[in-house]
Symmetry: C4
Subunit: 225 residues, 4 copies
Amino acid sequence: MNDRQRQRERWERRTETPLAVASLAYLAGYAVRVLARDLPPGWRDVCLAVVLAAWALFAVDYAVRLRLSGLGPLRFLRGHVLDTVVLVLPLLRPLRMVSVYDKVQRRRDRARLTLYARVMAYAGLTVALLGFAGALTVYHVEYGAPGATIRTFGDSVWWTCATLATVGYGDVTPVTPVGRVTAVGLMACGLALLGAVTGSFSSWLIQVFTREDEKRPPGNPPGAS
Amino acid sequence: MNDRQRQRERWERRTETPLAVASLAYLAGYAVRVLARDLPPGWRDVCLAVVLAAWALFAVDYAVRLRLSGLGPLRFLRGHVLDTVVLVLPLLRPLRMVSVYDKVQRRRDRARLTLYARVMAYAGLTVALLGFAGALTVYHVEYGAPGATIRTFGDSVWWTCATLATVGYGDVTPVTPVGRVTAVGLMACGLALLGAVTGSFSSWLIQVFTREDEKRPPGNPPGAS
Amino acid sequence: MNDRQRQRERWERRTETPLAVASLAYLAGYAVRVLARDLPPGWRDVCLAVVLAAWALFAVDYAVRLRLSGLGPLRFLRGHVLDTVVLVLPLLRPLRMVSVYDKVQRRRDRARLTLYARVMAYAGLTVALLGFAGALTVYHVEYGAPGATIRTFGDSVWWTCATLATVGYGDVTPVTPVGRVTAVGLMACGLALLGAVTGSFSSWLIQVFTREDEKRPPGNPPGAS
Amino acid sequence: MNDRQRQRERWERRTETPLAVASLAYLAGYAVRVLARDLPPGWRDVCLAVVLAAWALFAVDYAVRLRLSGLGPLRFLRGHVLDTVVLVLPLLRPLRMVSVYDKVQRRRDRARLTLYARVMAYAGLTVALLGFAGALTVYHVEYGAPGATIRTFGDSVWWTCATLATVGYGDVTPVTPVGRVTAVGLMACGLALLGAVTGSFSSWLIQVFTREDEKRPPGNPPGAS
């Protein structure tokens, strides 16, 4: 068992960077296909190939990890729900980004970022990538729909920002079922991840003010908020 | 008194599963009646019978518990406001789900779920069931109203999600008094229960990052956030 | 000084109930004048008299407290900003309700309500009263305005609920300057007071789940969240 | 190094007040140029001169601090991202206000404000100034745009309030790209800073109620929430 765990850790350490690169390649390929609609067909096929190759890589990684876990497929699936969701919908990959981000941070060995700053950076980055993927998808399914109000990618980004911030003007809204399901997913992310960002910001601000209080009587370590 | 309490606990233990089943039957019967409008009348009557039978069960349970409490009706009512509301409006039953959920969890004896995960699971599940009941009710009272913008069940679900997330696009909104009262109830649930979900998610995220900090100097138990 | 403080406390203790009654009378008189527009003029004058009498009472109370404080008007004003605002705009009186509410609670000597329940009850009650006053004011200034979408008191209440929950559909919105200023005030209250309600609810829910954890190993006092 | 730090601190202490005055002058000049469109050209030029002079002052301050830090431009920039952003977009200056505010507070030597009150005051003031700057900018770029719904400064302020509170009615919304980018910035500020305000308010309210609990058994210092 211990041996298996070591194997698994080695696999995860080695595949981390390639998988992160593949995720970005997937997102980039998808973005180019959606946005550059008047690209020559040759380039569009290249994008499709990149997207499919990245997806194949994700599937291989999933299969290897399933094998290394020594569990049956169903039990593995139950313990790795997020991994499975992310395999089926690779646009949600940013959700698994925490380990990559943390590793980059650690390699530079800069412990300057405090706990709250790290939560904010991770949640903010994740929400930005998910928001970009969501804006792409909504634009893709909406721009040609009858009665659509989201007609340009700019509209889609504007709508995404208003949704993630839970402002929701309603001047542009998705009208297709796929667009609306994507929207509900974005709302959930906006609520959860941006809630974490604002909560951490608030805690950090209180910490800053607490520390200022303690500057005058010197020697005390800055306490928790 | 102690004897009475034991009796009450036995009653609650025995009725838990039947009541949970009755709640689901009530919701299912109501959903079929509202959604499948072109069902043959025979089936519609079956649904109505299921709904009424479930309601009768709730009333019997309430009466037995009132009797077992040994209190007058008014004093019992004052101490069981939520139970009384839930008796009158059985669609709000999910609010009482916490005990059932907890019991299922305990029976499987899996303590894997942490505190925050449990709060998120309970509040998320409750909000999903209440949202479904709310979407049904709003669709039921709105789809035929003059000037209504909520015309299909899909619209109603879309509106429910936008309301619970406090996004509120306003592209579709209820126009009837009953629909608006339901909407206000949904807003209150959305604020309170989804606030609990996002708050717990935020705390859990901070906990994860704190634990990662502590991995390097080994031996310390992971501290609270 | 000590003598003065005792005098002040006696004054506050004695005027608490009359002032609370006067606040309700003020709100009721204002509500009747706004809502019952086809009341015979005699009754409308009675309402106006009640409103003015309540206002006079507030002014007398303010003057006596200014006198008892032994401070100049300006220094008193600086230390009692909320009292002064509430004197000028008696519809904001619910903001000062905390002491009355607490006293009623204490007189019944029921310590059953926990800390979070008390915060929720106070903030919820305040927000309900302020919301009612806001809905009245907005209805009063909007229903006759050109291009208004808020035409009935029902619309106004619906708009108030959507605003306080920060949902903001935008199907009905104020168009007059006074209505919009009232709306901004309501948003601020909604954010702050309902934020306190949901925050307390969330903390209470986590406490409930924590306590359940601790039920099995008996004897421990329920810990903080 | 220690000598350099002392020099830097002296510089910061001396420039604090001039820079705060310059920030207000910048905001005032910008506001007059945007709002008083029918001012005689002479006065408009005066406003422009004030704005440019303030900007020059900010640049000089930045250059001196870069020199005093003894770092290369790139490394200085990396450690002072907020300062650099604020140099390029002086309308965001309120974000750096915390030190000025704190100093004013300290000079009066009134420690009456508690931690939460100070966080609320700082975040509230910052959000008010940023909101004013945002309303000016949006009004400036929108009022002449084709299809614009924000046509007066009043509309712009109303829209700003609804956006900061995340209510987002959508009755008036920006339609130009610059207006929408400003809007996204305002949403971020609204989420983060007003989240800090409401979080602090909530904590303060719980503290008040906790303290009331402890009044009866005298002698205990009021505990944390």
